[in-house]
């Protein structure tokens, strides 16, 4: 591939290829797996099984504001409005099998991980039942303790081994453990480039706007296990590093006045609106809790270590852990405030936000704001309300600065 091609262009091409390749393989009679977004994809990559991620697909549908058709269809089928909108979109897609965003092939097996949420279990059970295909579950317990316990590691590892057996049946061949090791190595390398790139946003000014990070989430979900991902994230890192070296900030026409942390999934249907309002106030999102979930690092070749990484996701952690993690991000990225996307779809990620916000405020006096929205369903977001809340955040962050300057 041409060295000079930008990472943005690469991203577009690679994602298009990801989807077309899955469709092609299906057409050739090869098996396809539908999997949750933070699953040991290494297993499928090593067995050369095509995999697509319905969450990612639903986000693409959401970003095009096409979700209502699917949501209405799912609700007409009896699914409650309270169910995650990714699930609603995908369960409807499984019926409709046509979307303008992208199309994904019908699955031959489900690999679901409860490490992202419990919704994923029932959602995929329904999909498996609908297509009459096997579902393999990798269940990860919530970590009541600060770290992932040895019992959990054992429990998850056993399930990874079971998943390997099931996937071997699907692929019609045995796992090549040397190949798996190679894939694990690539996956770790990709996670490192992903982290290195996103860590560069800690610079002042940050070398890009953090909404860009949301764009690169599709490939970190879908290409985490292959060399394409390495090329992409390394290029992105180099571009950002060049910006840092040249003192280039996130915008050409504007300065980065305030730096904030974004908590929660992006509000895909209003990605542009939410971004523009922040930008018009000089606010740059420099870090986020969500993309960090894909910085999955473990010992290559060690299934225990792998189990620990997948079982230790942010959403599976206690409030103490999350408070510490957010504190580290807030100080490391020198943020002035936090924007909490109160996203009713994703209970696991969002229902602890109030307590976290309260703890962070009392710890640092960091200013924060909540806004209502949804990752896919456009009906719960109000631009005017968002606007007021963001502006109020600016006014509070200004107050903090005055206090710092004048000491009152």
């Amino acid at each position: 591939m041409d060295k000079k091609i930008s990472s943005k262009k690469m991203l577009k091409e690679m994602m298009a290829e990801h989807y077309s390749d899955a469709l092609k393989r299906k057409a050739e009679g090869k098996p396809v797996v539908w999997a949750t977004s933070i699953i040991p994809q290494e297993l499928m990559e090593a067995l050369d099984i095509a995999v697509v991620y319905p969450e990612n697909h639903a986000a693409a549908i959401g970003a095009r504001k096409d979700a209502p058709v699917f949501i209405n269809h799912a609700e007409a089928n009896g699914y409650s409005v309270d169910i995650c909108s990714y699930a609603r979109v995908n369960m409807a897609y499984a019926d409709i099998l046509e979307s303008e965003a992208e199309n994904i092939p019908i699955p031959d097996m489900i690999l679901s991980g409860s490490n992202i949420c419990c919704t994923a279990i029932k959602w995929y059970e329904n999909i498996a039942k609908k297509f009459n295909i096997p579902m393999v579950l990798i269940d990860s317990p919530f970590n009541m303790s600060y770290d992932v316990s040895a019992e959990s590691v054992k429990y998850i590892r056993k399930q990874i081994e079971n998943a390997i057996t099931q996937l071997e049946k699907l692929a019609g061949r045995k796992m090549d453990y040397d190949r798996l090791k190679e894939v694990m190595k690539v996956s770790n390398e990709n996670a490192i480039w992903w982290k290195k790139a996103t860590d560069l946003l800690a610079n002042k000014p940050s070398p890009t706007n953090g909404f860009d990070m949301f764009n690169y989430m599709a490939p970190i979900v879908c290409l985490r296990g292959n060399e394409k991902g390495t090329r992409l994230f390394k290029t992105w890192y180099e571009e950002l590093q060049a910006n840092v070296d040249n003192g280039v900030g996130p915008w050409q026409d504007q300065e980065e006045k305030y730096r904030v942390l974004w908590d929660g999934i992006a509000c895909w249907p209003y990605l542009k609106d939410t971004y523009v309002k922040l930008k018009s106030n000089g606010i740059n999102v420099v870090t986020s809790t969500y993309p960090e979930s894909w910085t999955l690092l473990y010992e290559v070749g060690d299934l225990d270590s792998m189990a620990r990484a997948y079982g230790g996701l942010y959403v599976l952690r206690s409030i103490d852990y999350i408070t510490d993690r957010l504190s580290a991000l807030a100080t490391g990225f020198k943020v002035d405030g936090i924007v909490f996307h109160s996203n009713r779809s994703c209970k696991g990620m969002d229902f602890k936000q109030f307590e976290i916000a309260r703890r962070l405020e009392s710890k640092f006096g960091v200013k924060y704001v909540f806004f209502d929205g949804d990752q896919t369903d456009p009906s719960t977001f109000s631009l005017a309300q968002y606007e007021t809340r963001i502006q109020a955040l600016v006014e509070m962050m200004e107050g903090n600065r005055q206090r710092e300057v004048h000491g009152i």
């Binding site: 109160s342 109030f354 309260r358 405020e361 200013k367 924060y368 909540f370 209502d372 719960t380 005017a384 309300q385 606007e387 007021t388 809340r389 502006q391 109020a392 006014e395 509070m396 107050g399 005055q402 206090r403 009152i408």
Partner: protein
């Protein structure tokens, strides 16, 4: 002169202050954003006070309709304006409960009247002035009569639905079952108070507590709110125009500084 205009969802308010920060005049009319309300309230205030628009050195607009109102020098959120307004009329206030037409806010302020933290209602009109408007309509009274009515309640009715529309049907069936309207009125106040108290506790209540917004004119509602929070609540003289007053104070502060 300095002008503050607050354009809410169901009413528009304006306050004029002089360079010493004293109130020269204030006005509220029951027409909110998207109507001629904002312009008329400004004109009416100028006429009433005999102040010419050209004598207004600086004007700040706030409220839901602030983005689209022409003719002001600056727009500031209602959150900061309520904080500033209360700081001037009730110094020492640390927590403001502001219930307006379509939103309810809890604002924590520091000694300088700056916003420390705030919370707002989410998703719907539960716990806002609109809820009470709908209740008044079902009870066949004017919104201004709710307070006196609820004050007579002996046997409060519990309204369990927080959704305005569902609460409406709940109340209709309660009335049909023989509930007295004063008991339902009190139930409506308690329902709003419980809902808003939840938000207050989330943000943290620090005394002194003040209540602003049109709903604070309803004395019984203030009583329900104080009971729900178990703290005394003060109400400024003109709770409805506090946001506009804060805006006017910002106008005075920002004049010449921008």
């Amino acid at each position: 002169m300095f002008l503050g205009v607050d354009i809410g969802s169901s009413s528009s308010k304006a306050v004029l202050i002089n360079p010493l920060g004293e109130i020269v005049g204030q006005k509220a009319i029951q027409m909110g954003t998207g109507t001629v309300g904002a312009k008329s309230v400004e004109q009416a205030l100028l006429e009433e006070t005999g102040v010419k628009r050209s004598d207004v050195l600086f004007a700040v607009v706030t409220g839901y309709g602030r983005m689209t109102y022409p003719g002001c020098d600056l727009q500031i959120t209602e959150i900061s304006c309520h904080a500033a307004g209360v700081c001037f009329s009730l110094p020492g206030t640390r927590t403001i409960v502001d219930i307006g037409g379509q939103d309810a806010k809890v604002i924590r302020v520091d000694q300088a009247g700056r916003v420390v933290n705030f919370g707002m209602n989410e998703k719907c009109a539960a716990g806002t002035g609109r809820f009470l408007e709908v209740m008044a309509r079902v009870l066949g009274c004017r919104i201004g009569e709710l307070s006196a009515l609820a004050g007579k309640s002996q046997n409060t009715v519990k309204i369990s639905s927080v959704c305005t529309v569902f609460a409406e049907s709940e109340v209709i069936s309660q009335l049909a079952a023989g509930a007295k309207i004063e008991d339902v009125a009190k139930g409506a106040h308690n329902s709003v108070a419980t809902r808003v108290a939840g938000m207050c506790n989330r943000i943290g209540v620090e005394e002194a507590v003040a209540m602003t917004g049109g709903v604070a004119l309803n004395q019984d509602m203030v009583k329900s709110m104080a009971a729900a929070l178990s703290v005394p609540i003060c109400v400024p003289e003109s709770p409805q125009t506090i946001g506009a007053l804060g805006a006017a104070h910002f106008a005075r502060e920002k004049y010449g500084r921008l």
